[in-house]
Amino acid sequence: MSTLKNIPVVSHEKPSGGTGNLLANVFDELMAFCRSRSLFMLHYCTGCGAIELPPAMTSRFDMERLGIQPMVTPRQADILLVTGYVSTKTLKRIILTYEQMNSPKYVIGICSCTVNGGMYWQSYATAKKLNDYLPVDMYIAGCMPRPEAVIHGLRELMENIKKGESDNWRDYYRRYDHYLGNQQRLFGENWQTPTDIIGEARHYDLMGPETLGPHTALLEQHQTPLKPFEMTLGLADLPVRKDEPR
């Protein structure tokens, strides 16, 4: 049980001073500013709290003035709003959607059910702590927080992004074994999503000390490998040998 604050977040983006880095620094500041000013929210209502989002988007509260737009597919989205109770069936889809999103991505747990189970804390069918399965950036408590609270939370997240503190998405790659362990504990050993998280961690060199572990080893055993089809020029070499299988 790790508390939010003491998760060791190793961030590359804060290089030490010096002129060369000044430019890099300014560039990173600009990137962080644009990331904070343009957030695409995934249009995925996981639970009952989602009913508070339309009023936050439409004319009364208008999220667009903060630069937040609803987007339909996880590929296009930055924020995954997990609203309301997280049933085990929905949690599978939430994890799949989270892994399909492009990082830097952020998760906001709206409603108390994502914090600690909420009023469904006794239920055998709901996951209690969203933080076990996904790195969560921001919690907005309330048994459906009003749109003002939702927007306040989003503003808080925008501030964190601008300051560059909201890098929890790296944690999913760095401590994938911890998250996978929790997921396997709930869904069983042969739980697998089509996204190759370990491959992605290696590709974008986001590997941390705890990325691989016993749970990822378990995953390797049960996993049906999904290697992407590389474009191969499997040409029959010249001249065609008789014994070559046709």
């Binding site: 995925y44 597919t73 996880p74 590929r75 599978k92 889809r93 799949l96 959607t97 399909q100 999503t193 089509p194 996204t195 190759d196 491959g199 992605e200 590709h203 974008y204 999904l226 290697k227 992407p228 089809f229 590389e230 474009m231 191969t232 020029l233 499997g234 040409l235 029959a236 010249l238 065609v240 046709r246």
Partner: protein, 619 residues
């Protein structure tokens, strides 16, 4: 022994060699060398070149003579044959022979087709023309009939069409002989325009039917799709590229040289409102649109391309009949352009068939990762077929559009653009269901097509791209053909057309296009971060976990929205018309048979006596 004789003798020898030892490994190299030699001879031949040999028939001299118009078509024929021989000679031919089929007959038929077409294209007078015409029909039949049982049925369906066409041409020949007294083309050119209107109309009707059948114009086009689609491999490419253009050669000779477009405009049905020229233009325009939208519904790649072959011939005839410099240049250039990318497309479809064993668009998909070069060939081919820059198809279509604009024919212009848009829709369906989308489990292990098939395809597509970027190269020969036909010659630069009212410079357009792609690539790879390749099952499906056994790639009803709107228009009226024609023939034949066989002798005796009495009384 003039160079034209040499040309004809060489192709005669290749035909014999083809029949004799076509299945030998060395034959394709030999045939390739001879064909290249023929192309060089033909290209360097000073025009007009008369052939050495000739003979007398019913007192009329029969001789062969190659001019600019014939040479343009002959060059395309030889080029298409070269690509087909190279394609058939390689691994495709080995598997064809291993499959129990006769490779010697295929090579022989291919070379025989070339010989027949050269004879037709170099004909100096109507008899030589008819000999060439018959040979081409029969050689075409021989080539079509070798593809197996379905191909034989399609070829047999072609025979009545071909014979009807031949009889019509023969009728035209006899009539023109009786009216003008000569069969020599150079004299006919002076005499025929002087004939009366009804005579010209009859000549147009007879010759026109024959050429329309060979070219597959609208009412008589049904035989061409199954015949061309079911023919074996490279034969389809050869047939689709050039064989039906012999009909256009005939139309060029007839409409522009003999009857001349001005006299054509005088033959009016409704006193000056709707002339024969308008009729031909509208038949060509309908031939552009209707087959293209039939191709849209096909689910077999070969049939889709065969239907497009018919559609594109409409462009050529329309360009030719408009007759102004840009229009005819566009029509003739389209013959060359279509030959290049149609052959490349058909060869790429057969390369896919060589590997996956099927051409059915419903059972393929995602092959781009397995056959990238074949994908490149089909991609450039469909860009050419759809008539988009940077390929050559765009230049010839632009010329036709430009002439329609200058001549002020809005409805014809609309039909041509409708044809182009229909082509874009159907070719996307072709490449989407063959190369893009979901790769099937059973196709994960297939390999790229062998080099012997790739080299001719890539050469054809490269030729199409080069003549697209610098259309001037092909326009030289087109100008020669225009001069030979007596049409106004279009001034052109290497890049395209230079004129104050609207010029086209493909060098600049393609240059800017690729510069734009360069900047796009720079923006994409430079500005954007790194991207990772992912598996096809790692896809957004509304939170659903995809699995390999779920098939979601189909070609049926691909354009559902469009079909909701224009679906009811597909009533198969031409098929019904053909069936009606066929049953009328059957009825006639059975009547004749009954009369001939004296099934009811008493009845005939009675009729004879009654007629005799009536004649007695009347006289």
């Amino acid at each position: 022994m003039t160079s034209l004789d040499l040309l004809l003798i060489l192709s005669g020898l290749t035909t014999l060699a083809g029949f004799a030892f076509g299945n030998h490994r060395a034959y394709p190299w030999l045939a390739g060398i001879v064909l290249t030699a023929q192309i060089v001879i033909l290209a360097s031949m000073p025009l007009p070149m008369a052939a050495g040999f000739g003979f007398e028939m019913f007192g009329h001299p029969v001789g062969w003579q190659m001019d600019g118009f014939g040479r343009f078509f002959a060059l395309i024929t030889l080029g298409a044959a070269l690509a087909s021989v190279a394609y058939t000679g390689g691994e495709w031919g080995e598997r064809y022979a291993a499959g129990g089929k006769n490779l010697r007959w295929l090579h022989g038929a291919l070379a025989g087709n070339v010989l027949a077409m050269l004879l037709l294209l170099a004909s100096g007078d109507l008899i030589a023309f008819f000999i060439g015409w018959e040979l081409t029909s029969w050689a075409g039949f021989l080539l079509m009939a070798q593809g197996g049982e379905r191909a034989l049925r399609a070829a047999m369906r072609y025979v009545p069409y071909a014979m009807a066409g031949a009889m019509a041409v023969l009728g035209g020949l006899v009539l023109s002989l009786t009216w003008t007294g000569t069969l020599d083309l150079s004299q006919l050119v002076m005499l025929v325009p002087g004939l009366a209107n009804w005579k010209l109309a009859l000549l147009l009707a007879l010759f026109g039917t024959g050429f329309a059948i060979k070219m597959g114009l609208l009412p008589v086009h049904l035989w061409q799709t199954p015949a061309y689609a079911e023919a074996p491999g490279a034969a389809t490419a050869f047939l689709g590229a050039i064989s039906s253009r012999m009909g256009l050669f005939g139309f060029g000779l007839l409409l522009v040289k003999l009857i001349t477009l001005t006299r054509l405009a005088d033959l009016s049905f409704i006193d000056g409102l709707f002339s024969a020229r308008d009729l031909i233009e509208w038949v060509a325009a309908l031939t552009i649109v209707l087959p293209t939208f039939t191709a849209l519904k096909q689910n077999d790649a070969r049939y889709l391309l065969a239907w497009h072959g018919i559609g594109q011939s409409g462009y050529m005839l329309l360009g030719l009949v408009i007759g102004d410099a840009t229009g005819s240049a566009g029509g003739l250039l389209h013959v060359f352009n279509h030959a290049t990318y149609q052959a490349a497309l058909v060869l790429s479809v057969f390369a896919v068939m060589h590997r996956t064993g099927t051409a059915d668009l419903n059972s393929m998909g995602g092959l781009v990762t397995r056959m990238p070069l074949t994908f490149l060939v089909m991609l450039l081919g469909i860009i050419g077929l759809a008539g988009l820059p940077p390929m050559n198809g765009f230049v010839s279509k632009w010329l036709i559009y430009r002439s329609l604009m200058i001549e002020g024919r809005p409805l014809l212009f609309l039909m041509t653009v409708l044809g182009t848009l229909g082509t874009i829709l159907s070719v996307y369906k072709l490449i989407h269901n063959t190369f893009l989308g979901q790769l099937r489990a059973e196709h994960e292990q297939i390999r790229e097509a062998p080099w012997s098939m790739l080299v001719p395809m890539l050469a054809l597509v490269a030729l199409a791209f080069v003549t697209g970027v610098a259309p001037g190269l092909a326009l030289n020969y087109v100008n020669e053909a225009q001069a030979a036909l007596g049409l106004p010659v279009m001034a052109h630069t290497l890049g395209g057309v230079e004129s104050p009212r609207g010029s086209l410079d493909m060098l600049w357009i393609v240059g800017v296009l690729f510069a734009g792609f360069g900047i796009g690539a720079l923006l994409f790879y430079g500005a954007g971060g790194r991207s990772k390749r992912i598996h096809q099952l790692d896809n957004y499906a509304g939170g659903h976990f995809l699995s390999a056994d779920v098939r979601y790639q189909y070609s049926d009803h691909f354009y559902a929205g469009l079909m909701h709107r224009i679906g009811p228009l597909y009533r198969g009226s031409f098929t019904q018309m053909e069936a009606a024609l066929a049953s009328a023939n059957d009825l006639l034949a059975s009547l004749m048979q009954a009369w001939y066989r004296q099934a009811v002798p008493a009845l005939t005796l009675l009729i004879a006596t009654v007629l005799g009495l009536a004649w007695m009384i009347w006289r």
